[in-house]
Amino acid sequence: MSLLAAEGLVKEFGGLRAIDQLSVSIEEGELVGVMGPNGAGKSTFFNCVSGVIPPDDGTVTLEGTDVTSDSPESLAHRGLVRTFQDTRELETMTVRDNVRLAAPDQPGERTLPALLRSSSMREREETVRKRADELIEMFDLDHLADEYSSNLSGGQRKLLELARTLMLDPDVLLLDEPFAGVNPTLTREIADHIRNLNADGMTVVIIEHELETLTELVDRLIVLQQGRLLVEGEPEVVLEDERVIEAYLGGDSK
């Protein structure tokens, strides 16, 4: 049984089929790349799987449970977390608060414990703060911890988004273009983080245009074209595939 599976997903916007009968399955512990030309339906696929947009047809299962059209928050509770293509920081909050926010099981997020300043809230907050500080340090953001995240650069925002996501300790991580607009040094750094997370057992799915980084990072590549699955397999094999060269690289084999 796959950890995450999409069966016959369909999503239309107006008359346009963004994804069309798309079936993809991800095994536990895999590191999978999703690529395809612009408009191939990569982000729509993520949106349907992560509950941001309900699909028109098809099913999504997570650990064998049907989670089609579940809300993003309930999917997050089930261990599936995503990032966004255009990094979405909580710009009016500090880096620290961005990361701390994502902590699950904080009783202080309910009215009564908050009003009464319950000890369970304070104890949990201690752990949350420690963990958040660890993650902030891990991503080299500690010197920016008290900055509003609107002051961060594009690359730093990508790091912050990763740190925030990891606060949830997800089983499945969906990353939408984690290297877009990031300088080469930081790209390598982010790639290393992803590799480490995967080595620790996290299942990761990445949408990316940065082919070089992607192909050396992932175990398996999925290529989408016009909302359908074009080819999937090991990166080396996929990149040599005629159809991929035709569709994605426009016949121009690098």
Binding site: A76, R110, A114, D146, Y148
Partner: protein
């Protein structure tokens, strides 16, 4: 850079202690033969002060909704009015017109809070899932609907006269006028301080972090596992309930309610106070409200020394308030004490 690392401890408890002290001192005046004498020039300050602490509960609730959660409520007065009417109708001994059920006033007050909370829940149920501007329109419309209900259903709400004969618990135990005013200000001020303590605790806790995250980006907040609809509804209902409490207390202080007390002017005043002081900062919104109400008070005195008619003067006052608002928005768009980065406005 202004960073408030909100540790859930200590902070905000001063308001709690001050509130309890105020209520106890107020009770001391009310229940013992102890008397105060106010200079007669002071009366107007105390009366405006009482209105200020009542409006203070309104602005704290509105700021929980708008400043912290980003919910736009242009009909805040309706929750104030519903709290006041529910309290009045349940506890009034006998009214000229409208319903007067003569239940004990504490029951009326509780009912006032609950009625406002229920209306808040109903409003949020209809529109909180929609985009923000819908909530603004629905709240504005709700306020107008209720205003015309109050005016037109005389048998129920007493029409333009309103509900009379509402018990005045403090006046009932203190016959002396000066002491009554002082005790009222202390008790109501104490309740406002307790409200301040409560909202501070809420927003300093991780609870407030979720609210501010919703204000910043609801989808991101959902994608890290927070049920934003629940939080938005709660925040809206709490704000409405606080307004209901303010309304109930107002009815019990004033001894009567009428539509004239609950015009859109109330909503405008608390909004201006909040924006002037700086949204998302409890003490700032109270200070902003104090400024706007203080200006109005000062202008009362100014009327006596200016050689213009009161009509002209009223227009001039509006112009001055307008100019101040324009100046604040131009030079301090986040309000006088607001944090522009936290509110996401460019200086």
């Amino acid at each position: 850079m202004n960073v408030r690392d909100r540790l859930p401890s200590g902070h905000g408890d001063r308001a709690l202690i001050a509130g309890v002290v105020c209520i106890l001192v107020g009770a001391l005046f009310a229940l013992t033969p102890l008397r105060v004498q106010l200079p007669s020039a002071f009366y107007v300050f105390v009366e405006v002060g009482i209105l200020f602490v009542i409006y203070g509960m309104l602005v704290l609730g509105l700021d929980l909704q708008y400043g912290h959660t980003g919910l736009v409520n242009f009909g805040h007065v309706v929750f104030f009015a519903v709290g006041a009417y529910a309290t009045a109708m349940l506890s009034a001994q006998d009214s000229f017109a409208g319903i007067a059920l003569a239940y004990p006033w504490p029951l009326g007050l509780v009912a006032g809070v609950i009625a406002a909370a229920i209306l808040g829940a109903a409003v949020s149920l209809t529109s909180i899932r929609l985009r923000g501007d819908f909530l603004a329109i629905v709240t504005l419309a709700t306020a107008e609907i209720f205003h015309s209900l109050f005016v037109n259903f005389e048998d129920i709400f007493g029409g333009n006269v309103g509900i009379l004969g509402v018990p005045r618990p403090i006046a009932a135990v203190v016959s002396d006028g000066d002491t009554r005013l002082a005790a009222t200000l202390l008790v109501l001020g104490g309740i406002t301080l307790l409200t301040l303590a409560a909202v501070t605790r809420l927003t300093d806790a991780p609870y407030g972090r979720v609210l501010r995250a919703i204000r910043a980006d609801e989808l991101v907040t959902r994608s890290v596992g927070k049920s934003t609809i629940t939080y938005k509804t709660q925040s809206f209902v709490y704000g409405a309930a606080l307004a209901g409490l303010a309304g109930g207390l107002f009815a019990l202080y004033n001894g009567a309610v009428a539509p004239g007390f609950f015009t859109i002017q109330v909503t405008v005043t608390v909004w201006i106070g909040m924006l002037l002081g700086g949204a998302a900062n409890h003490r700032a919104v109270l200070a902003g409200l104090a400024i706007i109400m203080g200006l109005r008070l000062i202008s009362r005195f100014a009327l006596d020394v200016t050689p213009v008619s009161s009509d002209v003067f009223a227009s001039m006052r509006l112009i001055v308030v307008g100019l101040i608002l324009v100046a604040v928005i131009r030079y301090r768009p986040a309000g006088i004490w607001g944090d522009p980065q936290e509110l996401g406005v460019d200086q």
